[in-house]
């Protein structure tokens, strides 16, 4: 059975303006690979309602899971929850379970659960909360869309809590061999190996160092025996390769 598929939707003007460099995509990619869920596509959109809703809807139809990051804080540009509710045709309002979590959090700190903060308790009907062990305000899962915070520490903590709930497939594994030749010199053999093992992805990643250049050849797949067989062929083609 093929692995479940997933897309990521990163929400935030700050990524597209170059102010902030996204790190959640890279983190999610690694965790999903370990969990046996294939990340197939990622999109970054600005803090505009129509863009968020349309992308969420399109990705939700196309993939088994959609993971979003960003736009669930207390300020005017935090509109993700309402957009996901719209994408899922769900009603949304302040929900008592989320309000109770926030109330307890701010009470414990002597802070006020003011109107702005209360926006973070807006959760679509039918959604399941995702715990936020860092700053309390929860994420949520609505249908196959998992809504999480943009701050990396919070995104990572939410994902750690969420992933065990999701059924994974066979974890993708990889093997690597480094060949100190030009990519154009090894393209023929690589192509042969890729053709012989259609169940495996064969990637080549050229690099330069101060001393010269080379290629890291990476093969990926969920069947260890197939990976071993392909690796054997690569060793035959590149006896000088380093693993």
């Amino acid at each position: 059975m093929p692995n479940p598929t997933a897309a990521m939707l990163v929400i935030g003007d700050e990524i597209l303006s170059g102010r902030t460099r996204d790190s959640n995509m890279h983190h999610l990619a690694g965790r999903l690979t370990e969990h046996g869920i294939d990340l197939v596509e990622a999109r970054v959109v600005a803090d505009r309602a129509e863009a968020i809703t349309e992308a969420a809807r399109a990705l939700s139809v196309a993939y088994d899971h959609v993971f979003t990051s960003g736009g669930i804080g207390p300020t005017h540009d935090d509109i993700t929850a309402d957009c996901i509710a719209a994408a899922g045709d769900a009603a949304i309002d302040v929900r008592e379970d989320a309000r109770a979590i926030l109330q307890a959090h701010y009470d414990a700190r002597g802070s006020e659960l003011n109107e702005a903060r209360l926006r973070m308790a807006r959760i679509p009907d039918g959604a399941v909360l995702i715990e936020n062990p860092v700053s309390a305000a929860p994420g949520f899962t609505l249908g196959n869309i998992h809504v999480m915070a943009g701050v990396p520490k919070i995104f990572e903590a939410m994902l750690a809590g969420l992933l065990p709930r999701l059924k994974g497939g066979a974890p993708m594994q990889s093997r690597q061999i480094r060949v100190d030749r030009g990519e154009g010199d090894i393209a023929g053999p690589l192509s042969e190996v890729a053709r012989a093992h259609p169940e495996i992805s064969v990637g080549s990643y050229p690099f330069t160092t101060e001393d010269g250049f080379g290629v890291n050849v990476v093969i990926r797949g969920s069947d260890p025996a197939a990976l071993d067989a392909a690796m054997e062929k690569l060793r035959g083609h590149f006896p000088e390769g380093r693993e």
Copy 2:
């Protein structure tokens, strides 16, 4: 007149598997902001022909410019040029101008322009070449799609050569003020400033340090006078703020 709009299309399994962390998106975002082109969306897709062609076509229709990175090397998984040709309904084959560039490059190094490397001379009919000062193999512009390499050093060099050809608008500028309070405490005033200055984007970026927490408030826009006026209001709301 509003600034030209743009999307980025990142092509590569290695980003989605978590093996490689993309850096071209962040670089492009910064350069486009300086040049007065608004990056509105970004997508990352795998090395699959249908995914690349469909995304390129959709983005090309929706925005003034599309910038792609990745998939133009000599190996079997480098299929971007053919996919962009398909998206633009252009024929594609080895083109003499590109072949001459590669021939000169490999002749100078005593390397062979073999069949694999010759694939890098496949350029769609009607495309304009983008110079590659690092490793010779050119990118190209077909219609409003600019096709560049994935290796960051090459991507950045190609972009530096390309950007002066593209008409930019008013460069986006930003101002920043740091407020050592919780985001929920300043959301009200921020919302007021955002409403009063619809031509400006008002973003808030919470952070934590070892000593506590705070928010960086960033306003962005292309009209310096409007930015100054909004900044004055922020100073009134947050007299303790640091710029």
